[in-house]
Amino acid sequence: MQEFLLIMRHEDGGKLASPEQMQAWMQQTMDWINSIAAQNKFVSGTGLPFDEARVVKSDKMVTNGPFGDIKETIGGFIHVWADSVEEAVEFAKACPVLQGDGNTVEVRKIAGPEHAK
């Protein structure tokens, strides 16, 4: 069993969405997380609010989001268990965030003991 982060990238769509749409989106994402939790493979997760986001650059300059040249940025991530990267990718494929054009889910393995030198 390995640990993965599924990182969701999307635009800040909150201001444009209707209350009904927000609720529907939230319900879908909860269902998605619950389907992973039902296999006892969900560890944790969080949303990352877009407001009051800052980017600190190498010259210590601090800017507000949006974050440079990319339109999509991290909206949240979940931490899961999976037997393989393939299984983690299957989890990612079911993520409702992918309904949005151009949105992505990045699958990243969390460094485990085998990486320890």
């Binding site: 909150g14 009904e20 927000m22 609720q23 939230m26 997380i33 619950n34 939790a37």
Partner: protein, 417 residues
């Protein structure tokens, strides 16, 4: 993690509560701030509940966050703060200490149907165009999104945004107060409110939009807002009861007019066992109680007509009454649709020939309704002519549902049914 289902429409319902209460507190010129704070509240809910689960009391959670966001906003906006703090101190529920933004204890928990009712009068102010009133009512009082409003009106979001913008500018410029008008003003102001609610209901009931759920939502929202008027002593008037009765009768047929593949089923082909008896009883109750006072409104007459339509069997008595009611309705307020419907009632009572003659005498746009009525009237006396009229109607029909119905008619004539 536990599976938790959210209450349907929770965000929509709470959006209107939070927006209206904050707008009432801040003043109408800050309507957009109120909207933004409400939207931000749901964004926070989305970012939290999605991963941590829905809190045990979701509404209380939303109010708590909305209050914090409002408090933070006041801290940043001095002008607004100077205006709001004395107001809150008067309420005695959140006396501010020096230099601190006040607490909003019980801001949303208090009975807010008063605020909703007051906002209804502000939104339906005569200085705002009717189409903007409806858009604004759907946004502020019903919590609909721009896309949903655009979908219901079969238009795009730019058009709806423009309507909303114009309406908000007018609210600000005219400094329209969020209040129920004074006694002497109430009749004329109520007329505008009822006209908007009537249109809102019809928009849902007759809309060409394909989104059936959305359309029923519009009707239910119109009825909910009408109930707000019924719930207030000052506005619980016969005309309001009449309108509510009408909407009860109409919506009683929602299930029956929907076919298995979503197509529209016409009145005469409906299975009346699917009519909602509770709504029909409510319609009767309110129609009965509307029959007081000196004024006969078009809502009274339309409700009475709708009431006769809840009796499916054709009897001379039914059509005699409907015809008389249409005669009076046309005197109270002429409308081409009512004139055509009167001709149909006439044909039921005195036969198609008399109706065809009567139709030739009225001024009516040669639209699809005119031609489909002609087709209907000629159906049994001259099928060939009837088909021609139905085809004419078909070429003018805009919605897929209407076209389907007309095509079915043409087919059934061809098959000699």
């Amino acid at each position: 993690m536990e599976q938790q289902e959210l209450i349907p429409h929770l965000f929509r319902t709470e959006f209107r509560k939070i927006t209206v209460v904050l707008c009432k507190l801040f003043g109408i010129e800050h309507l957009e701030t109120a909207e933004d704070l409400a939207s931000d509240t749901f964004l926070s809910a989305m970012e939290t509940w999605t991963y941590k689960g829905v809190p045990p009391n979701p509404t209380a959670w939303l109010y708590h966050v909305a209050k914090n966001k409002a408090r933070n906003h006041l801290q940043r906006d001095k002008q607004l703060r100077d205006k709001i703090i004395p107001q809150l101190n008067n309420r005695q529920d959140g006396a501010a200490r020096d230099g601190e933004a006040p607490d909003f204890i019980n801001l949303f928990e208090e009975n807010n149907s008063d605020s909703q009712l007051q906002m209804l009068f502000a939104v339906c102010h005569p200085s705002i165009s009717r189409e903007s009133q409806i858009a604004l009512a759907l946004r502020i009082l019903c919590g609909f999104g721009i896309d949903e409003i655009a979908n219901a009106f079969l238009t795009n979001r730019e058009t709806i945004n423009k309507r909303l913008h114009r309406a908000k500018t007018t609210l600000r410029r005219e400094k329209i107060s969020i209040s129920v008008p004074a006694e002497k003003e109430i009749d004329s102001r109520l007329d505008t409110v009822l006209a908007t609610l009537y249109l809102l209901f019809n928009e849902g009931y007759y809309s060409e939009s394909h989104d059936q759920v959305l359309r029923e939502d519009l009707c239910q929202e119109a009825m909910r807002l009408t109930r707000l008027l019924l719930g207030n002593q000052q506005t619980d008037l016969p005309s309001v009861k009449a309108l509510y009765s009408l909407t009860c009768f109409q919506s009683s047929r929602f299930a029956a007019r929907k076919g298995s593949s979503g197509e529209l089923i016409l009145y005469e082909d409906q299975d009346e066992s699917l009519w909602n008896r509770d709504l029909i009883s409510a319609g009767l109750y309110y129609l009965h109680h509307a029959a007081t006072g000196p004024t006969l409104t078009k809502y009274h007459l339309e409700a009475a007509i709708a009431c006769w339509y809840t009796q499916k069997t054709d009897t001379p008595e039914k059509w005699e009454n409907i015809l008389q009611l249409f005669d009076t309705l046309l005197q109270v307020e002429y409308s081409p649709v009512a004139a055509l419907n009167r001709i149909y009632a006439l044909s039921k009572l005195r036969g198609p020939q008399v109706a065809i003659e009567a139709l030739s005498r009225i001024r009516s746009n040669r639209n699809q309704y005119y031609y489909s009525l002609l087709g209907e009237l000629y159906r049994h006396i001259n099928p060939e002519l009837a088909t021609g009229h139905f085809q004419q109607a078909l070429s003018l029909a805009r919605s897929a549902a209407d076209r389907q119905i007309l095509q079915r008619r043409i087919r059934s004539i061809a098959e000699g049914v």
